[in-house]
Symmetry: C2
């Protein structure tokens, strides 16, 4: 019997209870042990819920339970979730989470507490929702040095950009539609300003840097609020879609790590990721490109990932694959100003600005490779052109 | 110190030695142990190789080595590889392999021997080359019942079909080009007749059926030798590509499992998988669709997957996640004749044949859903039409 508690009975917490209940028998066969949902901790009460008998508002009842093996933390945020996670791990209770904010801001500390108390802190669900990503990176690709990551890691913004193109509507209308469909929150800031993507990229970057922590604060981030329908329609006319990409590049012992809207060529798999889907392309020095695609959010897909972590712990006790992260004495992130990238220029007033440069033409747009953001802005200014990062 | 031997110093064996050597330090950091390549067993000798000092022709030297922890079997085939794998596992030495023929034909027996001798038989590299697939299926998606798998799992045939379209050449010319580029063997039968895909689907099906073994002999298979340039160009004209798909569908406690060329709509991610790339789409009851894409073959990508397995074993000793497969007393595979699928009809002489049916038109082609292969052939005969399986 492997006893677990769910902390926070919201969207993902409910999904987790549902998945564990629905596939109880086959999960037991896979673990060799029954997973017993013993407590659900929430400040709210849920009269009439079929889980009512195990729902409690008393944190002591959960964390002082000597029989508890694992907590599923689906509270979100970095306040009460942080306190509860520390308390569980300090008591030797493993924690599985979908909380990207907490992992990205407190990962080094929490992984250390887990190690010191001989338990695990796992977070497959924190990036890419249900898409297998964290474990494949740590395990299947362990023999590789990760050279590059490019990912669509926020479903809300992908839905907004896709809706603008698909329905020919403005950013504001698409945001409203996302909110009506439950894909965006009332306050959409974290999604549309790229903060959610930044947190996820912090996690991916820290893994790709083999445990050298990359903080969200080091990741230059631009959201999609300035993207217009004109931009999107222009992109389509040159065989591209505009996507908000989270990008990591290994450069020697350092890395570049940033979140920016990009023109992405439809020749790339990433240029064909529509609707609320997520996809992350990873390049390793030996595997070449591997790409992971699926539903990056939602109650049940995210719960699927949470439960995968719980099942691994139930089957094998402590899991060794997530190693502690260390905070480097000086940042390993190269300032975005110094990073060279590809940019696309369009609506060009003065094409002669590009005469002396090595360029590639895509329709009437011009791509310039290996220039800094500042140079790109300067060129755009001189040429009276629009500019955006480019992947193709 | 974790001591390994490579059995068979061919394409994947050499790649494995190269990966382990190139990333030795970072692999050591991840394992907490040094992986020591102690023996390479091959009937050939390799004078001048930098690994010459550890290459041996003497199998006893390898299998009687009490310090040996793991063998990497990259011999291929099901004869000597089978004998060597049994010998290693019987001695309690774990085996990691890329050998789909052996896993698909002898998996139940070999997994049982591994379990009896408290060691592991791992095969991440056997399907999808370097693409993380086996471990994500077993672990990340463990909470799901796998409902459907659709995969492009053979790079050779994908290269041939893509070249025919891209260069406007015949099947014969494309095959020759694949052979010249090292993507097809001198005898291409196993690839072009779908046998390689069949073996891989046997492995995927056995995992999806939660360890109930699906033998390659139960998988109805059609290759690509009958696909013409006309077919491919027609597919393109209706927004599709022809792909050889390995398909699994869960139907109650049974399954359908078959390999067939398909018209695949470009609206699907699978319709955009070009060149030698592989992609496998998996549908779980909670995660929805997850798709894995990358290089399905080649020395270094495959070695990357082999080394991922070795690293997991070196870090944690025995690995529990691959559970034994059992051979069912009666087949769980529904005969292909009884399976209902979607088919596309084109070059139609008599369109009235479809009048009474529920159809969907794609250009001048007609899609009929939920019919058997026999019904599809009958309809095609009556209508004087070409027909193929359809995914869209």
């Amino acid at each position: 019997m492997y006893n677990i508690a769910i902390l926070g009975f919201g969207v993902v917490g409910c999904g987790t209870a549902e998945v564990l209940t629905a596939n109880k028998e086959s999960i037991k066969a896979k673990c060799g042990e029954e997973i017993n949902l013993k407590h659900i901790l929430d400040i709210r009460s849920f009269p009439g819920s079929r889980f009512e008998s195990i729902i409690t508002q008393d944190a002591d009842e959960v964390f002082d339970d000597k029989e508890l093996d694992c907590c599923v933390e689906t509270i979100g945020g970095a306040k009460i979730a942080y306190e509860f996670t520390k308390r569980a791990l300090s008591n030797g209770i493993s924690v599985v989470t979908s909380n990207k904010e907490l992992v990205s801001t407190k990962g080094p500390e929490l992984l250390k507490i887990a190690e010191e108390n001989n338990c695990s802190y796992l977070f497959e669900a924190a990036v890419g929702g249900g898409i297998p990503l964290i474990r494949p990176l740590y395990r299947c690709l362990a023999a590789n040095r990760i050279i590059k990551i490019e990912g669509i890691v926020n479903g809300t913004t992908n839905y907004i950009l896709y809706s603008m193109l698909n329905k020919g509507i403005s950013y504001e209308e698409a945001l409203k539609s996302a909110q009506q469909n439950g894909y965006a929150e009332a306050d959409p800031t974290a999604d549309v300003e790229g903060i959610d993507a930044q947190r996820k990229l912090s996690i991916l970057s820290s893994i790709a840097m083999e445990g050298v922590y990359v903080s969200p604060s080091e990741i230059r981030t631009r959201g999609i609020t300035a993207v217009t329908l004109d931009d999107i329609e222009y992109a389509e006319s040159v065989g591209c879609q505009i996507k908000l990409l989270a990008c990591f590049k290994r450069i020697g012992d350092k890395c570049a790590s940033y979140v920016m809207p990009h023109f992405v060529s439809r020749d790339m798999m990433l240029g064909n990721v529509d609707d609320v889907f997520n996809a992350v392309s990873v390049e390793g020095d030996f595997v070449g490109e591997a790409l992971f695609y699926g539903r990056g959010a939602g109650s049940l897909p995210t719960a699927s990932a949470v439960c995968g972590d719980v099942i691994e712990l139930a089957a094998g006790g402590k899991s060794e694959f997530v190693r502690p992260w260390t905070i480097p004495s000086s940042s390993v992130v190269i300032p975005y100003e110094e990073v060279e990238n590809s940019f696309i220029f369009w609506n060009i007033s003065d094409i002669s600005v590009f005469d002396a440069l090595e360029t590639e033409n895509i329709g009437e747009a011009v791509v310039v490779k290996n220039i800094t953001d500042a140079t790109a802005k300067e060129l755009a200014g001189s040429a009276g052109a629009s500019v955006m990062n480019y992947l193709g």
